[in-house]
């Protein structure tokens, strides 16, 4: 699975006829109603769509946190949907970085230790200090989460996600809990990782303004991808209109 920066035509992800239903009988919820998707390596994808349209469900399945009701997911040539829990854990450990809306930092570890937590268990990590520098937090490395602002905590989360040099970075509403100014700093950190590390990146948002920084925008509604739009010239995060 050596998908590298030079191999830009390689496919990072492929999903075939993904469906996901919750519950049964009258209470059945169709979160995904058949999603087909290919994400080339190194691409930055933004997923847009109203709340409840199935964005998080799709992202969680692609990231190996959840499994679909039917359909298949390939990571490169390997079929994720055939993995057991142990292999999914290993897959996440080696290839995937996650950033969530609520940061999910470990309160009992400093910023640097939160990053080191991940670099300790990955094969080809950068140094935690370097990852924190990438998100502009080299001054706050020894601080505990309680001593950081929301935006800073989220940047630590990004540093933690990219420190292992993941093949893919999944961000579920990374700016959801932040004001626009802080949000832009966070998005810059993500864009930089995508640019400098050539990480395939998938960002969920319901803020259409953010979409302008993507190579491709997928519009989801009602458990399906309704529309896909390419940006030949994505703009930098600091030019986004919020």
């Amino acid at each position: 699975m050596e998908s590298t920066a030079t191999d830009s035509e390689a496919i990072a992800f492929r999903a075939e006829k993904l469906t996901k239903t919750y519950g049964s009988g009258e209470a059945t919820v169709h979160a995904l109603r058949g999603v087909d998707l290919e994400v080339p390596s190194g691409e930055m994808v933004v997923l847009l769509g109203p709340s409840g349209s199935g964005k998080s469900t799709l992202l969680n399945i692609l990231g190996g946190l959840d499994s679909p009701t039917s359909g298949r997911v390939f990571f490169g040539r390997r079929e994720l949907t055939a993995f057991d829990d142990r292999h999914l854990t290993l897959f996440r450990r080696e290839h995937v970085g996650f950033v969530f809306q609520f940061y999910n930092l470990i309160p009992s570890l400093t910023a640097r230790e939160n990053v080191a937590l991940v670099t300790e268990i990955s094969k080809n990590p950068m140094r935690p200090e370097e990852a924190l520098r990438l998100v502009g937090l080299e001054q706050r490395m020894e601080h505990f989460p309680a001593q950081l602002s929301g935006g800073e905590q989220q940047r630590v989360a990004i540093a933690r996600a990219i420190a292992k040099q993941p093949n893919v970075l999944f961000c579920d509403e990374p700016t959801g809990a932040l004001d626009s100014k802080t949000g832009i700093v966070v998005l810059e950190a993500i864009a930089r990782a995508n640019r400098e590390l050539d990480t395939t990146t998938m960002i969920i948002t319901h803020n259409a303004g953010i979409a302008d920084m993507a190579d491709r925008v997928l519009y989801m509604a009602d458990g399906r991808i309704q529309r896909s739009e390419r940006h030949p010239e994505p703009c930098a995060p600091d030019q986004l209109s919020w």
Binding site: R92, V96, E120
Partner: protein
Amino acid sequence: MLIELLKPLNRKLVRDLWAIKGQGLAIAIVIGCGVGMYLMSRGMLLSLSETRAAYYERYRFADVVAPVKRAPNALLDEITALPGVRRAETRIRAGVILDVEGSSAPITGEIQSLPEVPTPHINDIVLRRGRYVDPQHEEEVLALDAFAEAHGLGPGDHLHAILNGTRKRLTITGIVLSPEYIYAISPGEIVPDKKRFGVLWMNREALANAFDLDGAFNEAVLLTSAGSNEDALIDQLDTLLKRYGATGAYGRDQQISDQFLTNEIDQLETIGRILPPIFLLVATFLLNVVVGRLIDTEREQIGLLKAFGYTDRDVAIHYLKMIGVIVLLGILVGIVLGTWLGRGLANMYQDFFKFPFLLFRAPLQVYLVAVGVSLLVAVAGTFSSVRRVMQLEPAVAMVPPPPPDYSRSARWIERLSAWIDQPTRMILRHIYRWPRRAAMAVLGIGMSMGLLIGASFSMDAMMYMVDISFNVIDRQDVTVNFFDPRNDRAIYDVMHAPGVITAEPFRAIPVVLRNGPRMRRESIVGILPDAQLSRVVDTELKPVEVPPAGIVLSDKLAELLQIGPGELLRVEVRTGRRPELDVPVSGVVKTYMGTAAYMDLAHLNRLLGEDTSINGTYLLVDPLQTDALYRELKNTPLVAGVSLQEQAQNAFYETLQDSLGTFVFFNTLFAGLIAVGVVYNNARISLSERGRELASLRVLGLTRGEISYILLGELGLLTIIALPLGALLGYLLAATLVMSFDTELFRIPLVIGPSTYGYAALVVLLAALGSGLLVRRRIDRLDLIAVLKTRE
């Protein structure tokens, strides 16, 4: 669904309770153990003392017994005329050696006279099977139930008895119980041995013939009238009966069966006083921890409820209901458990204490106390948490709490940081961040281990006590008692019996010992100064020689008389010429059983103004020839009683296994439950507090094993820290128990074997492991996505 009918807040209650069912149950069980233990011990105590009172009342158990050597029957009128006497009877009671088919060892027993009317008025007997004896038939006897049962004897069966040196064949016509022999034990022993102690009742005339007591008696039994002065009566009896060889009248407090029964009741009292409070303390503490932390995690919900308009009271009542359900469940568990244990204990007691009836019935007020105390426990455990709920401002509660601040971490942890991995660092910082919680967990686990040690050490201590008593102090194999004092040449008669290796003489005389107002009826045993078989040992358990003059007291007797070495003790001899002497206390020695007093045999005889005379010998025998020896002893006329050390020791071990073993087993169970309760609760709460953190780690790619380490490693660490504390608490509990079990009958040394510490630690570790595994299963099922969706 039923739940639909409830108001929303009550639905939340039901669902919340369901969510913490494991923890709730653990607390309920700990409360239940305390309540159950209390019900059992308190209920049994009351059942036992009420049954005893009823039995004594109905069968007119004597208030005072006055043994004499021989007194004319006509004296009864004078005895009855003494002030304070409600009724008096005379009887003949003597020691016998019994010979039952199938038992080669001689059996020590007692035989009592029956009046012409079928049964005595005082110390009446309960006919269980068969019929009373026919006055026309000299050979007919009644036999004590326990003894007959142990030998498979029933009405119509025969046995032999050596009555005053004459062997007689007797026929059992009936099986009886007697209030005098509820605890049927032969004098000088500490556990009953049904096989080796028999009691028979026989026609008075036949018995009088056998013991040359025609027209005479050797014991008067009395009922006193209400409000009479028993001590004064005893003094008057002693004066009246002095001429007839009175050894000293005594009240119920010196009656051996009643003494043991009282001792048992006292022990139940102690257990009921010490153990249930410990359980309830642990329950208080668990409730405090669980409810406190539960309310912390529900901060936002509480704020929300208040914001919507629920009053402080509504919200507090909501949590009180939750606590109430857990406590009520605990009380219920306790009542069921206590009643069940009580019944079991009553059955066990029926084996030791022969009552015509013994029912476990705890009176209502015992239940009420148990319920009341449990409710108090609930209030004490949850007061501060519920008050916090009331005081919480909705606006404050709804602002999500900032991440817990770990920045004030201990410097030593940071210095260690370079050496330890992240997860371990997380564990240490977490403990340091919440030191009170960690301390509470350590204390809780420590208490459960302490309880285990306190419950099971008594086995070690008893074993030690028996070992010292039988192998260091009394090393003889056989003790032979003679009917009357004999010239010391009598020892040669016994020496020639087959299998006897050595024999050492002794003389035991009844005395009254006085030191100022303190008075004790005892025997003084005269032994050889350099005795090798039955020895006296000092407090370091080194054998000491009995000094040529003065009296040596056992430590307990010295304590009871409040006298020390060098002081003068008044000795009133109650046999022979009945001299009254002042004898210096020449030493105090260690004993675990009884309240012995020793003197140099020659010195004792000199004080009595008699030639060397003895009334028994200690024997060391060849184990291969015991059968021949026993046969000889059964047929030696001067032998009045024989006690066999090995069988006494075995009986003791058996009793220990049966009674104490059961007790230890239940305590272990309870203490184990507490350990599980504490550890499991801690793990569960940690999991609910840190579930989010752990799920995040899983998302980052840590394995289940790795995140389990973070949670369970902390518990493991706390458990290990708790072990030394538990050992200390156990030692303290054992010391308390030892102090309260210190009685005239026996003392338990404070001996805790390493295996007891090890065993307690093992149970705690296993409990921790079990809880860990239970929680580990939950960690494995952690819902990653759900955790990431919500804020807290």
